[in-house]
Every structure is written in structure tokens, then in C-alpha cells.
Symmetry: C2
């Protein structure tokens, strides 16, 4: 189900990073061709290898982007929520989506056709700058993800994930895991069983996980764990 954007909504959408730095006119121009789409949990938003004719912004809920190998194995490339853009890279390749997108909770996404984006950029080149900024942020994020995979242990990656969710700069904090553990595992490049073990290890660093709630007794302890060298972690007594 999809609907166009009514002008009364435009101002609310100004909170979105991609749209924030645009002039009111540019924002309205870009949104004129956009549609709002409600998707249920588990519903596909776009398919790997399909022609890339649109990119998206999450308005509500959580969306995962993943690559499926020929034989069913799946690698989660990103998980996005409110205000974040996804699949915007495909919009400039004139080709196909390199991955698939799926709602992991009931969600609402803004769908912007690439043809309309091209028109909008022609009308106002500042839109291009905003897009480039968005692309760059994704690039940076992927760089960090690769670094994490290569140099951090499973437990360290989980700690990093929790720290990203936490808002407190120090001390203790309680947070809600935003989606189920199988997806968290995928997102962090591990299997659910390994995630389980990682949570076990984190207990000795003051992390308690019950259901979808995590309690960190000291954020800074966790931070030191993340910054530690891989080898140090491996040989530590906290096994």
C-alpha cells in the first residue's frame, strides 16, 4: 500500500538527515515524486538483482538489507531505522540492486524513484550534495563494519553494538534490543549460537541480557573492551 506525500507532512520530514540541509523548495520538489509505503514484518521492499528504480528512507520501524548467496546463505549488510536512507547507492549505478531489502518490523518507508531524483537534481544541484553526504556516511559505516569484522572478536562486536544503542556516555544504562537475536547475530556477522556465547562472555564485563532487555552496569568498562586489541581479549582471564 502506498500513498503520496501531502504537503502538511513535508515539514515533519525535515527532521530526516538527508532532507535537513535542503531548502524548503528543494525538499518539496524531492518529495513531490515520493510515495509512502507501509510494509508488514517480513515483507520484501526490494529484491536483489531487480532493476534499481528507487531508493528509500525509513519513516517507522526497522529494515534489513542483505545479500543472499546462490545457496541460501545470507549476509546482512545493514539494518536501518527511522530517518536513515538505504539503497541510495543503487540509484546511481543505472543497474540492479546488489542486495535485498526486507522489513523486520511493521514499517513505513518513503520511496523515491530514481527517475524523479534525477529530475530533482537537475532542478536543484544542492540535492546532489545532500545525496553525496548520505552516500559518504554509508561508505564510512561500511568501512567501520569491515574493520570490526576483521579486527574484533564476536564479543567485542556485540559490545560495540550495545554501545551504539546506548545513549548514556558513562555509568549504567538499560536498553531494549531493537530486533530479534537472530538478526542481531546476522548483523554482526555471526550465528545466533555465537551471539549467545558472546552475551555469556559479556556477563563478566557487567552486561546482563534478559529477553530483549540489556542492562549495562558500566558503559566505560564495555568501551575499554571494544578498544582492546584482539589478542589481549583472547588471552584475558575473562574467557
Amino acid at each position: 500500500m502506498s500513498t503520496t506525500i501531502v504537503s502538511s507532512e513535508v515539514e515533519k520530514l525535515a527532521e530526516i538527515p538527508l532532507l535537513k540541509r535542503l531548502s524548503t523548495e528543494a525538499r518539496e520538489q524531492l518529495l513531490r515524486g515520493a510515495t509512502k509505503k507501509s510494509v508488514s514484518r517480513g515483507e520484501m521492499i526490494f529484491f536483489q538483482d531487480d532493476e534499481a528504480d528507487a531508493f528509500f528512507i525509513v519513516l517507522e520501524g526497522w529494515v534489513k538489507v542483505f545479500r543472499a548467496t546462490s545457496s541460501g546463505d545470507e549476509a546482512v549488510v545493514g539494518v536501518f531505522t527511522r530517518g536513515q536512507t538505504f539503497a541510495e547507492g543503487a540509484a546511481f549505478t543505472n543497474s540492479n540492486y546488489p542486495a535485498s531489502g526486507e522489513a523486520v518490523t511493521d514499517s513505513v518507508v518513503l520511496c523515491i524513484p530514481v527517475a524523479h531524483l534525477a529530475n530533482s537534481i537537475a532542478a536543484d544541484p544542492n540535492i546532489a550534495l545532500a545525496m553525496m553526504s548520505s552516500l559518504s556516511m554509508h561508505l564510512h559505516q561500511l568501512v567501520l563494519q569491515i574493520e570490526g569484522l576483521k579486527t574484533h572478536t564476536g564479543a567485542q562486536r556485540v559490545a560495540e553494538f550495545l554501545l551504539n544503542l546506548s545513549t548514556e556516555p558513562a555509568g549504567s544504562c538499560t536498553l531494549v534490543l531493537p530486533y530479534d537475536k537472530a538478526l542481531i547475530a546476522g548483523r554482526l556477522g555471526m550465528k545466533p549460537e555465537s551471539l549467545s556465547r558472546a552475551f555469556q562472555k559479556l556477563k563478566s564485563y557487567g552486561v546482563e541480557v534478559k529477553q530483549n532487555r540489556a542492562i549495562i552496569s558500566n558503559v566505560q568498562v564495555l568501551r575499554t573492551l571494544v578498544e582492546q586489541e584482539r589478542t589481549v581479549v583472547m588471552h584475558s582471564s575473562h574467557g
Copy 2:
């Protein structure tokens, strides 16, 4: 050592993907602010956390981009050669380089200040489109790298690497490893020892490595290995 671009060079540089689709005027405009920089093997091109005031295009040689953790561990994020751009993501974040760049062979790079890029885009918005295409390609490449790390074994990743170097679509082929094995290992997310063992495993798939030369007796055999599921590889008799 760095020099400006003389106009007789501009046409040669038209081969570079980023510059290819630009008009002659746009190309000249962009190159007007660029400088050519010769760097020796091992020399740094930019430093992680430094202010990102330029992006680069490789003209000759090989360049690695890597992230160093606080404790000396290092993750190779990309290795680039002739015609490829790097660090172009940093140009739009108004912030600092998320990684460092270093020449791994004697190299020549084109250095384009971000301030000049901004001016050039204002002068000709088509430059923005070319940049976005370049950013998207990098994004796609990183997505593939993440998928590879998550779903392929070491030997599979090495096979993939060799296939990317080979130009032959089928049959046998000989190729030269472009940089030393420690870097290849880093690039593929493994240790040099593991790379060595991966080469051993690939012998049963018709790959022979001597010094910096690799001989693939049948490209397609290798391709099937890469496309196999992780579990299949693990349980195969080719241990």
C-alpha cells in the same frame, strides 16, 4: 613532490572512469585544481583522523587504505590501482579521514582538494553525478567485501581474489600477484600464515603459486569453488 596538471595530460586522463563521462570542459575545470603527487613505496598519502581536505585518483602503482586500531592492529579496507579513486567519501563529510592511505609500490596519485571539488560542482553539476557514481561503486564493492568475509572461507576468498586479477574468461592463465602476500592476506581478512595455507588448498584446484606468479590451470574450476556453499566446501574431500 607534487606538480600541477598540464593541459596536454588532460586527454590521457580521460580514460579514468570518474572523468570519462564528463565533458571536456568539466574535466579541465576539475583538473585545474588537481596536483600530481609521486609517492614512494611505504610513504603515507593521508592519515586517519586528519582533516579530510582532498580525495585521490591512482595514476600509477598500488595504494592501500587501512584502519589502525588504538593498539596497532590494522584492517585493510581497500587496495586501489590505476584509474581508481579513493577517499572520495571523506570529501563530503566535512570531517576527518576514517582511515589512512599508504603507497604499497612507488606510485603516482592525482590529488584533488575538496574545496576545489565544491567549486567545480557549482560550476558544473554533472561533476556531482560522476562523483555519485564513483561513490556508489565503492559502496557496492564494500558490500561485496562484507558478503565475502561472512560467507566465504579463506580459500574461497583467495580464489575470488585470483579470479578478479585474471583476464581470461576460461581455460588456463598466468598472473602476477600485484603486491606482497602480507598485504593480500590483510586485504582478504586473514593472516599471512592462513594465506599460505589457502594457497596449499588451492593446489588441488589447479592453482600453482611460485614467488609472485600464480598459474591457474582452469579458471572455471576455480569459479565453481567460489560459488560453492561454505558448508559444501567444508565437508568436501579437498581438505
